[in-house]
């Protein structure tokens, strides 16, 4: 009786674990570059910088902001973001775009800008 119970519990835990791992695979998004993103053709996130020598465009009626960015491997990519230009876009040293590659365009659903944080103290700042 007791043995049976443990087998039952063990099997239950195993099934749970397997489902968990499977759902992990579905819900995780990799940090990667544009080249890999093209191969994977699934949702990924890419870190990079704004290629400011190219023009940007915001289409009011469609609420789409378009720009060029470079990933860490210096690959240039045209990015179409669904939403307005984030306000810290021009000053962010780098940012992360979340999305996938469609033909030649990276369609981003989210732009996460990393800001030069003022939160950590720098001794220079109070010596002036």
């Amino acid at each position: 009786m007791n043995m049976k119970k443990y087998i039952f519990i063990g099997a239950f835990a195993l099934i749970f674990l397997v489902i968990m791992l499977l759902s992990f695979n579905r819900s995780t998004i990799e940090y990667t570059d544009f080249e890999t993103a093209r191969r994977l053709s699934k949702k990924v996130q890419v870190v990079g910088t704004w290629a400011k020598e190219y023009p940007t465009n915001y289409d009011i009626s469609k609420n789409i902001f378009e720009f060029f960015m470079r990933d860490k491997k210096d690959k240039l990519m045209f990015v179409r973001f669904i939403g307005p230009q984030p306000n810290n876009f021009t000053i962010a040293p780098e940012f992360v775009v979340k999305g996938y590659i469609q033909d030649t365009v990276f369609v981003a659903s989210q732009i996460i800008t990393k800001c030069p944080s003022k939160y950590e103290a720098e001794p220079e700042s109070f010596q002036k």
Partner: protein, 752 residues
């Protein structure tokens, strides 16, 4: 110096308290009691004094202290100055110690009053010893010259002003949410030290009611603290919802789930006896959850994946926190194993359809949900540990798991109420359940059509309605009989409302984007939005430019004004705006307007000027703009190395009148970027911006470019159906804990 000494003293006192209460228990020599009590109250007094001292330094603007300089400033109002106390890591540890001392005092009083052994205070003091140890290494009482040894700072240096709070925290919620959360965390220590003491002493009965009392209190307060955070995020931070499965939110939810499980396993003990080891394990896990949360949020491991910003506290504290966690895993485990045989499990068969059976199933769903959350939240740490490639986890992971878990959880709660603790007659139960079942099936079928055949949602809706009905019926029956022991029913009703509210408001929310400029209309969801005017608020504060936008929202005959806020702050050198949403709350839905971006539409062609020259204004040949001089006097406002506030003093001639003004731009040397700080042209409804700087040999020859345009606010309008259910649910849940508490207030009626 005083602050540091008092922390050292506190640490010593708490160590002594731990040892003396331990000796007292071991030797039973009453002489130890005096020493134990003296060091206990010594520890409380020391923590209290340290807190008072820090508060005094904050209120008197003593900026020689790094902590005070980092998190407060002269311009902060009183309430926010109080919040500076715990705005940084050092202070939040002190707040934790302060609440622990307060809870310790209450616990002492409670144990004395109910004639329970003071032995648990030993373990309680040990926790405080650890927190004060962290405070020694991460002290809020360090002077600037100590914090920055390479900065060549003279010892008597006092900066003129502090850096102030992060503006998104400048809100009354910061005075409410963190203290309640920390009180909740501190309260969860008590059930753990009580159960630990009970298994060391092999006497669970002696503590059972006390454990229940403190678990209920902790669950109520922590639950309130968590949801107030959610409300803050929803109402002022503009995160769009009250819960985002962010690691920091998750790490506060896990200890709450464990303490809620504990409340249920205590109930099993009450009605069935036994379950002592189970109770120990869950009170232990609840406490470990608190430690784990403080490790996750403070160690910097989450800085990439969480919206809450945290900074690495430095190696020593990181290691200390891990040691803290390790000690509380290993030692209780040893004690547990030593006592394992002392609490033999009661041999009895669980009758299949009984309340006990369904309560157990409910506990299983809670355990599964906690595992899902722990695994998901710990992912960055696991990846770090095994050196795997870093991946981010989408909130959808939690939603996928929690939905079916919630369906079962609610179902088990509803079913459990039909049965007695031992065994019930199935036929009778079926007869009384059929009405509820039919009604819920009816409702959820309607829901199935409304939700476009979303089967999982309909299942949840079905169990939600069912459990709601069962609880309401039971509640009604009890109240009619003047039986007011209804805490559990009220809490469960609350949970049903929270879950159903979250499902409906989150699952069926819709978002559209609107563009607001003066004089133009924008439509979303049959509502017409129109920017009426904007008003600068808090003008007495020089560190910010804050505007309230008055947006008219109209549909057919009804009009209302919705007022989001956009502001710029010196905190980030006016680089990017901060936003606050505004919400119109109706009975059946919230309309949530969250600003996303501020843009400028160019109205006229830009004007290029050299210093000392003037140009006709682009809007009228009669008016003109004169570029008087460069203004570098605000350079200091930019406090990071690469940014400079670059000003131009201008003179306008408008309709024959002269206006003086200065426009600024932020020059980022590193990025070589130029961000104008837009400002309204006097008497006009459009703004001027200093958009370009073309350097020449010297400033006299350099050219600046001025642009003119109108501000456009881009905002998301989201309709959230029935989100009010969530808030009502939270209130009911917390209220239920308080009702239940009432029963355990007095310990005298233990065996009645």
């Amino acid at each position: 110096m005083f602050g540091k000494i008092i922390i050292y003293l506190a640490s010593l006192f708490w160590l002594l308290t731990f040892l003396f209460y331990l000796f007292l228990e071991k030797s039973n020599k009453e002489s130890f009691r005096k020493f134990a009590n003296i060091s206990f109250f010594g520890g409380i007094t020391a923590i209290f004094l340290a807190s008072l001292f820090l508060l005094f330094n904050i209120l008197s603007h003593n900026f020689t202290l790094t902590y005070v300089w980092s998190y407060s400033s002269r311009s902060l109002p009183f309430l926010l100055l109080l919040s500076s106390f715990y705005a940084g890591q050092e202070g939040s540890f002190l707040l934790w110690a302060l609440w622990m001392s307060f809870v310790g005092f209450l616990l002492y009083w409670y144990l004395k009053k109910n004639n329970i052994s003071t032995f648990p205070l030993s373990f309680f003091a040990f926790t405080l010893f650890f927190i004060t140890l962290i405070l020694i290494f991460k002290t809020p009482f360090a002077d600037l010259w100590e914090s920055f040894p390479d900065g060549n700072i003279p010892k008597d240096f006092v900066p003129p002003d502090g850096r102030g709070l992060n503006p998104i925290l400048e809100n009354y919620w910061i005075a409410i949410h963190p203290p309640i959360l920390f009180l909740g965390y501190s309260l969860l220590t008590v059930p753990f030290v009580l159960t630990l003491a009970s298994i060391v002493q092999r006497n669970f009965e002696n503590y059972y009611r006390a454990i229940t009392f403190w678990s209920l209190l902790g669950a109520g307060i922590l639950g309130l603290g968590i949801m107030l955070g959610g409300f803050w995020a929803y109402e002022t931070l503009g995160w769009g919802g009250f819960w985002g499965w962010d690691p920091v939110e998750n790490s506060s939810l896990v200890p709450w789930i464990f303490v809620v499980i504990l409340v249920h396993t205590l109930l099993l003990h009450k009605f069935k006896g036994g379950y002592i080891r189970t109770n120990f394990v869950f009170s232990w896990l609840a406490f470990l959850g608190v430690l784990y949360a403080s490790y996750l949020t403070r160690s910097g491991v989450l800085s990439d994946t969480s919206v809450h910003s945290f900074v690495d506290p430095g190696k020593i504290v990181n290691v200390l926190l891990l040691v803290f966690l390790g000690v509380y895993i290993i030692f209780p485990l040893i004690i547990f194993l030593l006592r394992f045989k002392s609490f033999e499990r009661k041999k009895e068969d669980i009758k299949l359809p009984s309340r006990q059976f369904f309560t157990l199933l409910g506990i299983v769903t809670l355990v599964v949900s906690s595992i899902v959350i722990i695994v998901g939240t710990s992912l960055p740490i696991i990846q770090n540990f095994i050196g795997a490639k870093k991946v981010a986890l989408e909130p959808s992971f939690y939603n996928q798991w929690m939905l079916p878990i919630a369906v079962l959880m609610l179902l088990f709660n509803g079913l459990s109420l039909y049965f007695n603790w031992k065994e019930s007659d199935f036929k009778f139960v079926f007869r009384s359940a059929s009405f509820d079942l039919i009604l819920s099936i009816l409702f959820s079928t309607v829901f199935l059509f409304v939700s476009n055949y979303n089967i999982l949602f309909s299942f949840l809706f079905f169990t939600g309605i069912f459990t709601f009905l069962v609880n309401v019926k039971k509640l009604f029956k009890k109240i009619v009989k003047k039986n007011f022991r209804v805490g559990a029913l009220v809490s469960h009703l609350g949970i049903v409302l929270v879950i159903v509210g979250a499902l409906v408001s989150g699952g069926f929310e819709k978002t559209q984007t609107i563009h607001l400029t003066e004089g133009k209309k924008s439509t979303a969801f049959d509502y017409v939005f129109e920017l009426i005017r904007k008003e600068q608020i808090e003008q007495d504060k020089t560190d910010r430019e804050k505007y309230r936008f008055y947006v008219k929202m109209s549909k057919e005959q009804s009009n209302s004004i919705i007022k989001p806020i956009v502001y710029w702050s010196s905190f980030n050198n006016f680089e990017q705006p901060y936003f606050e949403p505004d919400i119109k709350t109706y009975l059946t839905k919230d309309i949530y307007l969250a600003p996303k971006s501020v843009m400028f539409n160019d109205f006229f062609s830009p004007v290029s000027l050299k210093k000392g020259n003037s140009s006709p204004a682009p809007w009228s040949k009669e008016d003109s703009i004169y570029f008087v001089s460069y203004d570098m006097s605000s350079m200091h406002l930019a406090s990071t190395q690469n940014n400079f506030m670059f000003g131009l003093a201008l003179k306008y001639l408008i309709n024959g009148k002269i206006y003086n003004d200065t426009v600024y731009s932020i020059l980022n040397m590193k990025m070589n970027s130029f961000s104008p700080v837009w400002k309204l042209v006097p008497t006009k409804d459009f703004a001027i911006g200093f958009t370009k700087f073309q350097p020449a040999e010297n400033l006299e020859e350099s050219t600046v470019e001025l642009s003119f345009g109108q501000e456009m606010l881009i905002a998301d309008v989201t309709v959230k159906p029935f989100i009010i259910l969530v808030w009502i649910g939270v209130i009911l849940t917390v209220f239920g804990f308080i009702i239940a508490l009432n029963k355990y207030k007095k310990i005298q009626n233990v065996y009645q």
